[in-house]
Symmetry: C2
Subunit: 401 residues, 2 copies
C-alpha cells in the first residue's frame, strides 16, 4: 500500500465549493495510486454552527460552567459531523468512504482534556478499511482515553492527528491542505512579492510557527520529524506544489521571517533594589500562577521585564500590583524573528539583523536568540519596516528558495 | 439510592426557557431526595442547527449518499451536544453534572444502524457517578456496539434510552417530560374538553401510540412493562401530575381514542379472478419488498386491499403496476381507534362502535380489532365526527379517568 494522509482544515471543508475541491484532492491521490487517509477539521469558522468555537459557545456564551472533559465532548462533535459530510462527498463521487471518529480510528490519548497527547494509535481498523479499498475519513483533533473519555488534542490538533497517523501508518507523505499556498518566506501582507518556500526543515517550520507563522502546528511537525515522515503544506484551492517539509534540505542562513503582533511589555519593579532576590522569586511565581505564556524575560538589577499578549496585560498587572509590585506596561509591541537552519554555521548573523534594523530606523528593545532563530522586540508600528529590512538584508526574494 | 430517570424531549431542551424549566425539574427531584439520571434528546426541531433532522440534512439536503452507519454517527452528535449543554445548566445552578454519551453510559446495542436494539447496559459508570452525588446527563437515542460503532435506536429512541436505563438501574420511576400534559383521552384539537388520563396500563399506551397518539414511544413502554418500572408522562412546562403508566390500574372498557390521518387505501386487482393464488403471493411479496408499513390488509376473492401512508401510495402503485397488477388508489383515508384494557371482558363493544359511527353519519370502510383495540378505516373528512361520536358513546368526558 502507498498510504498518504490528507488533512483538510476548517476553511477547506467550510463550504460546498471548498468541500468539492477537497474531494478532488482525495480523488486525485487515489487516481495516482495512493491509498488516502483523510483527516478533517470542523466545518468552517464561527458563525457557522458546526465550527469548534460555535459549539463551545453553546455553553460559553451563556456563561455556563463546564469542565474541560465536557468541553472536549462538545467540541469533538464538530469533527465528527465534518467527517461524515466529507465522506458523503466522496461517496457521491463513487468512492467508498468510511467516516471514523478519533476513537474509531484508534487514536488513544492521555486524559489531559483540552490538550491531550496521543499515547498510541491502534491502526487495525484503518488498515482494514484501506485493505478493502475504501477511504477512511477521520475526525481530526480528537482521541479517546483507555477509559472511553473523548479528548481533544488542543488547537491545531487536526494537524497532529494527521502527522501522528502518518507516522503510525508509515505513510509516504502527510499533506496538510489549507487556504494558503504553503509556508512563505515572509508575511505577504507586508511584502507582496513574498515567495513560497518550496522545501524547509522540520525545525525551521517549528520555529517559524512558534514565532507567529501559523501555517502548520509545531507539535504536528515535531511528530512528523520524529517519525521521519515528510509533510507537504499546500493549498486546497491553488495548483501550487506547496511547501515540502523534510530534513533533506540544503541549509540556508535565513529561510523565513515571522512576526507576532500585539504584545505588551511589562516591567515589574523590585520594591527595594538592595534586596532583589526575594522580589525576583515572588514576581516569577506570580506570573507562573496566572498560567499564560511569557516571552523575552529579562531579569535586571532593579526589575524584571517580559512580554505577554496584549489581552493578558491587565490581568498580569493586577496580579503583580496585588502582590505589591509597581508595574509599567508598554503596549503595542511586536516580535520579529528570522529563522534559518544555516545560521549556526555562519558568523555575524545577529550583527546583520541589528544593523539592518538600525538602518531602517527600527528601535530594538531587546533580542533573544536560539539555535536557528533570532528574535527582536520592537514597536508594533515598526513591524512592516523591520520585516522589509530583514527581507532585503537576507535576500529572501532571490530565486531558488 | 432512590434513582429516578428524567427524560427531556426536543422541545424541552430546545431553547433557553425550556432548558431552565427542565433544569428545575431535575433540581426538584434532587431536593426531594431522588438521585436523578437525566436523558436528553437533541435540541429542538429543524431549522435549529443541532436538531436531528438538521444534522441529517447536512448530507440528505445535498443529495449525498450515506450509509446507515454514517447517518447514525452524524445524528448521534445532536444528543451529545444536548447533554453537554444541559449539564452546563445544572452546573450553573450549583449541581455537579456529568455529560455522558450513550457509549459512556454503558448502552450496548446490536449493529442494526438506524434502528438498533439495546443488548445490555453496563451500569458501572452511571452508578459511580450517582454514588459520588453527581447527576449523570445521558445522550439519548444512541448506543455503541461491541466493535465501537455508534448506533441510534430509531425515532423515539430517547424514550427507549430512558426506560431501558430505568430498568437497568431499578429506578423508582421513569419520567418522560414533553410539551403536552400527558396522555389524553382523545385529541384535544378535535375535542377541546379532552381530559388527561391520570393512570393507564402499559399495553393501552402502546396501542394508543401505535394508533396515532404519539406521546411516548411504544418500544420504550414495552421495555418499562417488561422491567416492571412505572413511567410517568408529564409536561416540562405545566404543573400537571401527568399520566402514570403502570399495570396497577382499574380496567376501563375504553380508555382513549387515537387516530391516524393521511392514509391511502390501495386495491390491487388479480389479473385473472379464477386464479387468485399466484396473484395474492405476488402482490404481498411486491408490497413487502418496498419495505413500508401496510395496515388493514384484506384479502378478497378478486383483489387485495390495504392502506399505506399517503406519501408512499405512488411508490406502491408503481411497484404493483410494474408487476402487472391493476391498482385503484383511494386517497384521504384515516384510521380511528378506541383502546381499552377492559373491552375484552365486556361484550358488544364493536357493536357500540359501529352504531355510534353510523349515527354520526360516518361511513366505515373496514374494521380491524385486536385484544384491546378496535380500529375503523374511514374518510379523512369524517375524522372529527367519528372521534366526537366515540368520545360521547364511551363517556370519555366523565370524571375519574
Amino acid at each position: 500500500m502507498r498510504i498518504i494522509v490528507q488533512k483538510f482544515g476548517g476553511t477547506s471543508v467550510g463550504d460546498e465549493e471548498a468541500r468539492l475541491k477537497a474531494r478532488d484532492r482525495v480523488i486525485s491521490a487515489k487516481k495516482q495510486g495512493f491509498d488516502p487517509v483523510v483527516v478533517v477539521s470542523a466545518m468552517g469558522r464561527r458563525p457557522g454552527p458546526y465550527a469548534t468555537d460555535s459549539l463551545l459557545d453553546l455553553v460559553r456564551s451563556k456563561g455556563l460552567p463546564m469542565d474541560a472533559r465536557g468541553l472536549d465532548l462538545l467540541a469533538s462533535c464538530g469533527e465528527v459531523i465534518s467527517c461524515v459530510v466529507m465522506a458523503g462527498y466522496l461517496k457521491a463521487a463513487g468512492y467508498e468512504a468510511v467516516p471514523l471518529t478519533g476513537a474509531q480510528a484508534g487514536i488513544r490519548t492521555d486524559a489531559q482534556f483540552g490538550d491531550a497527547s496521543i499515547q498510541g494509535i491502534n491502526t487495525a481498523r484503518l488498515l482494514d478499511v484501506l485493505a478493502s479499498g475504501q477511504i477512511p475519513v477521520v475526525a481530526g483533533f480528537q482521541g479517546v482515553t483507555d477509559d472511553g473519555e473523548i479528548t481533544t488534542l488542543g488547537r491545531g490538533g487536526s494537524d497532529t492527528t494527521a502527522t501522528a497517523l502518518g507516522v503510525a501508518l508509515r505513510a509516504e507523505c502527510v499533506e496538510i491542505y489549507t487556504d494558503v499556498e504553503g509556508v512563505m518566506t515572509v508575511d505577504p501582507k507586508i511584502v507582496p512579492e513574498a515567495r513560497l518556500i518550496s522545501a524547509i526543515t522540520y525545525f525551521e517550520v517549528e520555529e517559524l510557527a512558534n514565532n507567529g507563522a501559523k501555517v502548520v502546528h509545531p507539535r504536528a511537525v515535531h511528530i512528523a520529524q520524529q517519525g521521519g515522515i515528510p509533510v507537504r503544506v499546500r493549498s486546497t484551492f491553488a495548483e501550487s506544489e506547496g511547501t515540502f517539509i523534510t530534513d533533506d534540505v540544503a541549509r540556508r542562513v535565513i529561510t523565513g521571517i515571522a512576526h507576532v503582533d500585539g504584545l505588551a511589555r511589562i516591567e515589574a519593579v523590585y520594591p527595594n533594589p538592595a534586596e532583589p532576590s526575594r522580589a525576583r522569586v515572588a514576581i516569577l511565581k506570580a506570573i507562573s500562577t496566572i498560567g499564560i505564556n511569557v516571552d523575552f524575560i529579562n531579569v535586571t538589577p532593579r526589575a524584571i521585564l517580559f512580554t505577554v499578549k496584549d489581552e493578558f496585560a491587565k490581568a498580569v498587572e493586577e496580579a503583580l500590583r496585588s502582590e505589591g509590585f509597581a508595574c509599567h506596561v508598554m503596549a503595542e509591541c511586536a516580535k520579529v524573528s528570522v529563522v534559518g537552519a544555516g545560521m549556526q554555521e555562519v558568523p555575524g548573523v545577529m550583527a546583520r539583523v541589528v544593523e539592518a534594523l538600525h538602518r531602517a530606523g527600527v528601535h530594538i528593545m531587546q533580542t533573544v536568540d536560539s539555535e536557528i532563530t533570532i528574535s527582536c522586540l520592537i514597536d508594533q508600528a515598526s513591524v512592516a519596516q523591520a520585516v522589509r529590512a530583514l527581507y532585503d538584508e537576507f535576500d529572501l526574494g532571490a530565486p531558488g528558495m
